[in-house]
Amino acid sequence: MKVSRMGFGALCAVVALVAGCGGGSGDGLDANGRPIGEGDDPSGPMTASFSSIQSHVFTPMCTACHSGSAAPRGLRLDAANSFALLVNTPSGGVPSLMRVKPGDADNSYLVQKLEGHAAVGARMPLGGPYLDASAMALIRQWINNGAQK
């Protein structure tokens, strides 16, 4: 019993310690955590353009994993690489499908992964929160309009 009290006390100390730790203040940063002016400002409403999707979806939600040299399946979704690695590029999971097939959102692997009905693997972003219907509609619109940069 004495040992259990010690354990409980130690856990309480940890809880108290971590409860006081929060995220960064964000001073001088945009909503994606980058210095103001470095990238597209995502503060406005999302639209069906590539740059808007990049700043509202790819940069804030996907680059936690899909960036740098260890990006899963080599898919880097930072602003400099995402377009080339998405549009008319075969997917790693189902190579017969393009990640983004201009004019055909239904057969774009990106849409299937984000909507959770891809043939392979888990829905993205892994663990959520997933994109809402309005964001998906804009991504679909961008692709069906030709997936222009």
């Binding site: 354990g7 409980f8 995220g23 994993c65 740098g68 400099a80 075969p90």
Partner: protein
């Protein structure tokens, strides 16, 4: 007939429940090496006979029903070992300014098989994810070993060794290192297991070296095992046309009374970012309180600095999880996660509550 009954019983258990992947705190709490309970020397996935027995006698709150007792995963005099893993979850996410959303469903169903072609020397291991979506191979390798895994080599597709092999693949240290049980890689691994040392070195393609990106990855890890716990170091060097990357990790675990502690610190230097090299840093501190057998309270605190050159951009992730294992091979988990990030990004400050059901045989 008895073996068939046991197999059917286990399949029924798999169908009715979802799965428990062992976690490293169990190895620390009970002073065991990963290879003591798992077929894979670096832990996770398919359990060996000791692991199955341990799960039945030392982890669960209650004994298994009679029909399931005695199952140890072994068939044909241990030349064939089978297992499975099923996990489902319901997660409720709250983001400021947005409607609260609940998502539920099967997270994964996996089947494992290990065949010993030459007993104790040559084996083949398979880890196949059969849901969600189409069947997808996670691990498939040939293993050459000395008895007891004193020395072993494996070639094929496998998970790389780097830090704690956590059940939580979304932990900051797993995301930053790029090594988790969602990211297998193809290559060759050489390992050594002794009473006090566990060491691995792997040469692989690199999970990011696919498509138009090419290169390779060298990953190594060594852990010193003592009666008080263990301490280890890991390193991964990626050579890539996308930019070179170096990752270094320190990890340790110990037990104080009923609480088992895990810690990990990872630092990464990655030249694969548009602005050049980005240096990143992540930590994990985890406490597991054994309330009583079958009941574990887990408190986790994580920190992530996505770019050390940029101030005020750090993220945190705090979790409180209760794990109840009513019988071996079934676990219920319920928890709360609080994320913290810059105030400009509401998603980085989300809250999550979740209930998970895991089953495994």
């Amino acid at each position: 007939m008895k073996a068939l009954r046991l197999l059917l019983g286990c399949l029924l258990a798999l169908a009715l429940s979802p799965a428990v992947q062992a976690e490293p705190y169990l190895a620390i709490r009970y002073g065991l090496k990963c290879v003591a309970c798992h077929v894979n020397p670096t832990g996770g996935g398919l359990r060996n006979a000791v692991g199955n027995s341990f799960a039945q006698n030392s982890i669960a709150a209650n004994a298994l029903p009679d029909a399931l007792q005695g199952w140890n995963g072994s068939l044909l005099d241990d030349r064939l070992r089978l297992g499975g893993d099923f996990r489902t979850a319901t997660t409720r996410t709250s983001v400021s300014g947005q409607p609260t959303r609940s998502i539920g469903g099967t997270e994964q169903v996996r089947l494992y098989a290990d065949v010993q072609l030459i007993k104790d020397y040559l084996g083949v291991h398979l880890d196949q994810q059969v849901a969600p979506g189409k069947s997808e191979r996670q691990e498939a390798y040939v293993r050459l070993s000395t008895p007891g895994m004193g020395w072993y080599a494996k070639a094929g597709q496998f998970y790389l060794p780097f830090g704690w092999r956590l059940q939580d693949n979304l932990a900051f240290v797993r995301q930053l290192s790029g090594v988790s049980m969602t990211v297998p890689d193809k290559g060759f691994e050489l390992g050594h297991e002794s009473e006090q040392i566990s060491a691995q070195i792997a040469y692989s393609n690199g999970p990011g070296n696919q498509g138009s990106t090419s290169g390779h990855q060298l990953t190594s890890q060594v852990a010193w095992l003592q009666s008080w716990g263990r301490i280890g170091a890991a390193m991964a060097r990626v050579t890539s046309t996308a930019g070179n990357r170096q990752a270094y990790g320190l990890f340790a675990g110990t037990t104080t009374g009923p609480v088992t502690w895990l810690g990990e610190i990872d630092v990464v230097s990655d030249a694969g970012f548009p602005e050049g090299t980005r240096r990143q840093f992540a930590t994990l501190l985890e406490a597991n309180w054994l309330v009583r057998q079958g009941h574990n309270l887990k408190v986790t605190s994580e920190y992530f600095d996505p770019d050390r050159r940029v101030a005020h951009d750090n993220k945190v992730r705090h979790s409180l999880v209760y794990e109840y294992t009513p019988i071996a091979f079934v676990q219920l988990r319920g928890g709360y996660r609080r994320f913290g990030g810059i105030p400009q990004n509401a998603v980085d400050n989300r809250r999550q509550t979740f209930v998970e059901l895991h089953g495994l045989f």
